[in-house]
Amino acid sequence: MRWFTRCLAPGVWAIVASFLVVMPAAAAGPTDSFPSRTTHLTTTLSPATLSTLQSHAASAQATTAADAGGTSFFKTKKGAVVIVLLGAGFGYAFYSKSHDRVLSPIR
C-alpha cells in the first residue's frame, strides 16, 4: 500500500490534472449533422426522413451553438468565465487537499 501511495497516487494525480488541461483542448469540433449509425441494430434513412428527425432532435436538445460542442465554447465570454471558475474551484480544492489534511503520523 505504501507503494501505491508513493508511486501510483502521484501518477493518478498527474493524469487527473492533465484532464483539466487536455479536455477543453481535445473537445470536438462542431459536427454537421447527427450521424446515422449503420449497425445491425440501426437502419439507413432517406435524406428527407433524416432531415425531419434532425430537426426534431435539435429541438429536443435545445442547445445553443456555443454549447453544442466544439472548442469554440471556450473562446466565448461564457466559456472564459467557465474556465476561470473551474480553475478557481479545482485550484482551491487541490490546495485544500495538500494544506488542510490532518496527516496521520503512521502514513
Binding site: M1, F4, A9, V12, I15, V16, S18, F19, L20, M23, A25, A26, A27, A28, P30, T31, F34, P35, S36, R37, T39, H40, L41, T42, T43, A48, T49, T52, L53, H56, A57, A60, Q61, A62, T63, T64, A66, D67, A68, G69, F73, K78, V82, L85, L86, A88, G89, F90, Y92, A93, F94, S96, K97, D100, R101, V102, S104, P105, I106, R107
Partner: protein, 907 residues
C-alpha cells in the same frame, strides 16, 4: 489532437485497469408499439431515440414493436417516421429512471412528412408490472428539497426509514450503498464508508420492498446512486452554499440546561462553506464525453455538549469518461478521490467528550469504476463492471497522552487510544438482460458477481497504557491492543424474471445464491456459507386500465460479506494486562486476560431477513397515487459469540431504578473457560449453573410489522408532494442499532442475553408522519420546499454498571457489567417534530443558462427535541461539570435553527 485524445483514453483505460468490476441495474429502457389512428400496428417504421449523447434508430418489427434497452437515466425523445403517407410522430420529455421500463406507444396520422405530431410524454402514475416498491430521488429534488444530501442517510426521507434504519433493520450496517455500482460500504461491518458530492448525482434509486434477485447483500434497503456524465452539449454547474454563527439560533431551554449543564450551549455552526465546480461535454461528438467535478466542503462547529471545536474538511474530485465507439457499445470510466479530515471528533461518548477527549481523523480514498455495456440486439444486452475502492481512516488522539477513567466512568486527560482502519474492495459484476416471448412476455436477467475485500484494524493505547483512577489518583492500569487482518470473498449468481403472464398479471420470480468466505493470512479460511435467497412477487392490474394494482412479494435477503462475522476467530489481539499502580512509581501485574482466538461453528449460517409484504396502489386523478402497504419482516440466523463451557452463579443485586432485587449472573469458572469462545448462530444456547441446571436459553430475534399509507403527487399545477404515515413496531432481543449483532458480544454473558432483553428496539418508531413537498409561488416565481416530519422518539432503556467482583468479570469490558434495569425500550424520548424549509429564485438566462439564489432554513421552528437520554442509573459524570447528570436527563438535542444561503449557475 488525435494523439491527445488517444493519450487521454489510454490513461483512462490504465486507471480503470488498476481496478476490477460488477451487476445491479443502473439503466432503464423504452419500448412500445407504433400504430396508426385505427390502432393497426405499423411494421417497418423507423424509430429514433434522441438523448444527450446522440441518436439511435431502429425499425419496428412485424408487430410494430420497438425497444431501446440499456439506457442511462436521463430525458429522451422518441420519433417515428414511415414513408411519405404518415406524418412523423414524436414524444418528448421521456424521463428514464434507473430500472424503469417505459412503454411509449406512438400513433401516426396520415399526412405529409413535413408536419410532425409532437406530444409530451406522461409517465404512468401506477407501475402495474413490478412487485417491488422503490423511491427515486432526482437531482432536482436533491438540489431543491431541504433534505440530507448524502447517500448514507438520504433514504431517511422514505416512509419507514429513520435514523438510517429501514423497515426495522440495523441502522446503517444493513443497507447496501452503491455508487455507479461500486459497493461503498465498509467490508468489516457494512456501515457507510465512502461519501460523495450530491451535485454529481444524476439519480438515486432506493429499493426496499420486494427487491429483485439482482440485489443482495442487505437486510434493510439498497441505495443505488447513478452519477452524472458528459453529453454532446456542454453543461456545467457552479454551486456554493454556506452559513455562519450569526445565522444560527439557540434552542436550549432552562429545563434542559438545568438537567444537563453540558447542553447549556446549543450546537453552533461557526462556518460552513460547500462549493462545487463541474463541467461535462463532448471530446468527440456522439463518441467520447467527459465529466469533471471538484468540491470542497468545510464545516467548523461547536457541537452540543462539552466539545467546543469540530472542524471538517473534504476536498473531492471526480473524473468520468464515456465512450461510445458504436451504437451498441458504451464504456464508462470513473475515478473519485477525496480526503476527508476531522479535527475534534469525539473519542468517547458525545455526552462526555471534551476537547481533550477528541481525535484527529485522516481518511483519504479512491473509488473507481470501469464499465462496458453491449447491446446485442433490441432483445439482449450485457453489462460488465469492474469497480472498487481503497482507503483508510486513522484516528489519532488530540492529546497524545495515556487516557484516564475514574470510578464514576468519567474519562479525562486524553481519549488515550489510536485506531487505524485500512480497507479495500475489488468487485467484478456481469449480467445479461434478455427480453423474450414465450407463454407471455419475459424480462430475464442473469448475473454473476465476484467480490474480494480487505480489512485491517489496528488499535492500541497511547504508550500502551490506560489508567483507572480512584479517589483522583491512578489505581489500576491496563495494557491492550490488536492488529487484525481479514479478507472477504464472495461469489454470487442470480436469475430473475419479470413475466407478464397476461394483460393484467405480472410475476417476478427470482433466486440469488451467495457463496461467502472469510479468511485471514495466518489461519486461512475460517468462515464459509452458502446462501440461497428466493424472491417471488406479483403485480396484478386489478381494473385492467393501469390505474389500480395489487402487488406483493415474499423475499429473503442475506447480509453482505462482512468481516465482523468472523474476525474474532483470527489472531492479532494482545493479552489484556491489568496492573496495580496505586503506589506511585510502582506497577505490579495483577491479572492477565489472554484474548482468545474464538472458534467458528463450521455449520454457521449467514444472517438474513425474511420479508412478506402486500400493497395496493391506486391512481387518483391524473397525477396522484395512493399506496397502502402492509409489511412483516423477521430476521434469522443471528450470529454472535458464546462461551460454551462457562457456568454462571445467580447473584442478587439491587436494581438502582426500582430498589427491587435483580438477579444477575457471576462467571463461576472464569479461570478455566476464559479462552473458550465460539462464534455461532446462538439461537437455543443454554446458560447453566455449575451443577448443570438451566438458567436460561438464548433467544435472539427481531421482528418488524408496519402499516404504511403514502400519497404521491407528481409535479403539476406548480406543486408536487409526498405525504406518508407509518404505524410500525420493531421488537426483539437483538437491537437494531448499527452492528448490533456479533460485535455486541451480547450472548457471551447471560447478564446481557437474558436480563430484561426483550422489548422495543432502539429504532422502533410507533408513529411516523412525513411531508415532502414543493410549491412554486406565482408572480414572483419562487419555489418553496418543505420537509416536515413528526416521528415518535427513540426508545431507550436504563442500565446500571455493577462491579467486576460482583459478576466475576475483572479485566473484562465494562459493557459486560451493564444489564438493562427494565424491559428493553420501555422508555421513549419525546416525539421529533422538525420542519425544514428551502426557497429558491431561479433567474433564467439565455438558452439553458440559469442562476438560482436559494436559502435553507433547517429546524425552522427551532425545536429543542431531545434525541437521546442519559440512561445510566443513577447518574453519570462529565469532566468539567460539577454535578453528575442524573438518569433520564437529556443527553443530546437537535441542532437549532440554522439558515444557509447559496447560489448556483447551471447551463
Amino acid at each position: 489532437m488525435r494523439h491527445t485524445i488517444a493519450c487521454v483514453v489510454a490513461a483512462a483505460l490504465l486507471l480503470a485497469g488498476t481496478a476490477t468490476t460488477f451487476a445491479q441495474t443502473f439503466s432503464g429502457s423504452i419500448s412500445g408499439v407504433v400504430k396508426d389512428e385505427q390502432g393497426g400496428v405499423l411494421p417497418g417504421a423507423t424509430v429514433t431515440l434522441t438523448g444527450k449523447t446522440g441518436t439511435k434508430t431502429i425499425t419496428t418489427d412485424a408487430n410494430g414493436a420497438y425497444r431501446f434497452p440499456g439506457l442511462d437515466p436521463e430525458t429522451y425523445s422518441v420519433s417515428a417516421v414511415l414513408g411519405n403517407s404518415f406524418r412523423p410522430a414524436k414524444e418528448d420529455n421521456i424521463k428514464v429512471s434507473v430500472g424503469s421500463t417505459l412503454n411509449v406507444d406512438l400513433i401516426m396520422k396520415v399526412g405529409g412528412i413535413s408536419e410532425a405530431v409532437s406530444v409530451v410524454a406522461s409517465a404512468e402514475v401506477v407501475d402495474v408490472k413490478s412487485s417491488a416498491t422503490q423511491t427515486n430521488i432526482s437531482q432536482d429534488l436533491l438540489a431543491n428539497a431541504p433534505i440530507t444530501r448524502t447517500a448514507i442517510n438520504v433514504f431517511n426521507v422514505m416512509p419507514g426509514a429513520n435514523s438510517n434504519s429501514v423497515y426495522g433493520g440495523e441502522s446503517s450496517s444493513s443497507n447496501a450503498l452503491l455508487i455507479d455500482g461500486v459497493d461503498t460500504r465498509d467490508p468489516e461491518g457494512g456501515t457507510a464508508w465512502t461519501f460523495y458530492n450530491y451535485n454529481i448525482v444524476q439519480e438515486i434509486q432506493i429499493q426496499g420492498l420486494g427487491a429483485p434477485a439482482e440485489y443482495g447483500g442487505f437486510t434493510g434497503a439498497v441505495v443505488n446512486t447513478v452519477t452524472k456524465s458528459g453529453g454532446n452539449r456542454y453543461s456545467g454547474l457552479f454551486d456554493i452554499i454556506g452559513t455562519n454563527s450569526s445565522l444560527g439560533s439557540n434552542n436550549t431551554t432552562a429545563a434542559i440546561t438545568a438537567a444537563n449543564p453540558a447542553l447549556g450551549q446549543p450546537a453552533v455552526t461557526k462556518k460552513f462553506v460547500d462549493f462545487t465546480t463541474q463541467i461535462g461535454g463532448p471530446i468527440k461528438q456522439d463518441k467520447l464525453f467527459f465529466f469533471l467535478s471538484a468540491q470542497r466542503f468545510q464545516q467548523d462547529s461547536d457541537p452540543s455538549g462539552p466539545v467546543t471545536t469540530l472542524h471538517e474538511v473534504s476536498p473531492r474530485f471526480n473524473v468520468k469518461l464515456t465512450w461510445q465507439p458504436t451504437a451498441n457499445d458504451n464504456y464508462t470510466f470513473h475515478l473519485q478521490y477525496d480526503a476527508y479530515n476531522i479535527v475534534g471528533r469525539a473519542g468517547v461518548s458525545e455526552l462526555l467528550a471534551t476537547d481533550a477527549l477528541t481525535n484527529h481523523e485522516d481518511a483519504p480514498e479512491f473509488v473507481w469504476l470501469g464499465q462496458w455495456r453491449h447491446i446485442f440486439n433490441s432483445s439482449t444486452f450485457a453489462e460488465v463492471k469492474y469497480t472498487g475502492w481503497w482507503g483508510y481512516y486513522d484516528l489519532n488522539p488530540a492529546v497524545n497522552l495515556p487516557g484516564h477513567i475514574d470510578e464514576n466512568g468519567t474519562p479525562s486527560v486524553s481519549q488515550g487510544w489510536f485506531y487505524y482502519a485500512d480497507r479495500g474492495r475489488d468487485q467484478v459484476n456481469a449480467s445479461v438482460s434478455h427480453y423474450a416471448d414465450a407463454f407471455g412476455k419475459h424480462e430475464l436477467k442473469f448475473g454473476a458477481e465476484f467480490e474480494h475485500s480487505k480489512v485491517r484494524n489496528r488499535y492500541g493505547y497511547v504508550n500502551n497504557i490506560s489508567y483507572y483512577d480512584y479517589g483522583g489518583q491512578p489505581y489500576l492500569a491496563y495494557s491492550y491492543g490488536y492488529d487484525v487482518s481479514a479478507t472477504n470473498n464472495r461469489q454470487s449468481v442470480f436469475v430473475q424474471d419479470s413475466w407478464k403472464v397476461g394483460d393484467r398479471l405480472t410475476l417476478n420470480p427470482g433466486v440469488r445464491t451467495d457463496f461467502i468466505q472469510g479468511s485471514n493470512p495466518t489461519v486461512g479460511k475460517v468462515y464459509s456459507t452458502t446462501n440461497v435467497a428466493p424472491r417471488l412477487g406479483f403485480a396484478w392490474d386489478v381494473t385492467g386500465n393501469f390505474k389500480t394494482v395489487l402487488k406483493g412479494a415474499y423475499s429473503q435477503y442475506y447480509d453482505g460479506a462482512m468481516a465482523v462475522a468472523f474476525e474474532r476467530a483470527v489472531p492479532g489481539v494482545a493479552p489484556r494486562l491489568t496492573y496495580d499502580v496505586s503506589v506511585p512509581g510502582q506497577k505490579t501485574l495483577i491479572d492477565t486476560f489472554n484474548s482468545p482466538i474464538y472458534k467458528m461453528d463450521p455449520n454457521i449460517k449467514h444472517p438474513r431477513v425474511d420479508e412478506v409484504y402486500g400493497a395496493l396502489e391506486r391512481e387518483l386523478g391524473s397525477s396522484m397515487r395512493l399506496t397502502v402497504t402492509g409489511i412483516y419482516r423477521e430476521n434469522k440466523n443471528f450470529i454472535n459469540s458464546i462461551s460454551p463451557s462457562a457456568t454462571w452463579l445467580p447473584v442478587t443485586v439491587t436494581n438502582g431504578l426500582t430498589n427491587a432485587p435483580l438477579t444477575l449472573y457471576q462467571w463461576a469458572n472464569r479461570a478455566a473457560t476464559q479462552t473458550d469462545f465460539l462464534v455461532t448462530n446462538v439461537n437455543g444456547f443454554a446458560y447453566k449453573d455449575p451443577s448443570g441446571n438451566l438458567l436460561g436459553t438464548a433467544d435472539p430475534f427481531r421482528k418488524y410489522k408496519a402499516f404504511m399509507a403514502v400519497l404521491n403527487k407528481r409535479l403539476s399545477n406548480r406543486w408536487t408532494a409526498q405525504v406518508s404515515y407509518v404505524l410500525s413496531e420493531a421488537t426483539g432481543t437483538v437491537d437494531n442499532t448499527s452492528d448490533a449483532q456479533v460485535s455486541s458480544r451480547q450472548f457471551e454473558t447471560p447478564v446481557l442475553a437474558l436480563v430484561n432483553v426483550n422489548g422495543n428496539l432502539t429504532n422502533s418508531r410507533t408513529h411516523e408522519f412525513k411531508l415532502l413537498g414543493t410549491y412554486t409561488i406565482p408572480v414572483i416565481d419562487v419555489s418553496m420546499s418543505t420537509y416536515w416530519h413528526m416521528i415518535s422518539g427513540r426508545p431507550y432503556t436504563p442500565f446500571q454498571q455493577y462491579t467486576s467482583s460482583t459478576l466475576g468479570l475483572s479485566g473484562q469490558s465494562s459493557a459486560y457489567r451493564r444489564p438493562l434495569l427494565e424491559a428493553r425500550g420501555m422508555e421513549r424520548n419525546p416525539p421529533e417534530r422538525i420542519v425544514d424549509l428551502s426557497f429558491e429564485k431561479v433567474i433564467p438566462l439565455s438558452g439553458r443558462d440559469k442562476i438560482g439564489i436559494y436559502a435553507q432554513v433547517l429546524n425552522a421552528l427551532n425545536a429543542s427535541t431531545i434525541t437521546s437520554a442519559q440512561n445510566r442509573v443513577p447518574n453519570t459524570s462529565i469532566s468539567g461539570i460539577a454535578n453528575p447528570i442524573l438518569y433520564g436527563a437529556p443527553g443530546t438535542i437537535i441542532a437549532p435553527r440554522q439558515i444557509n444561503f447559496g447560489g448556483r449557475w447551471s447551463f
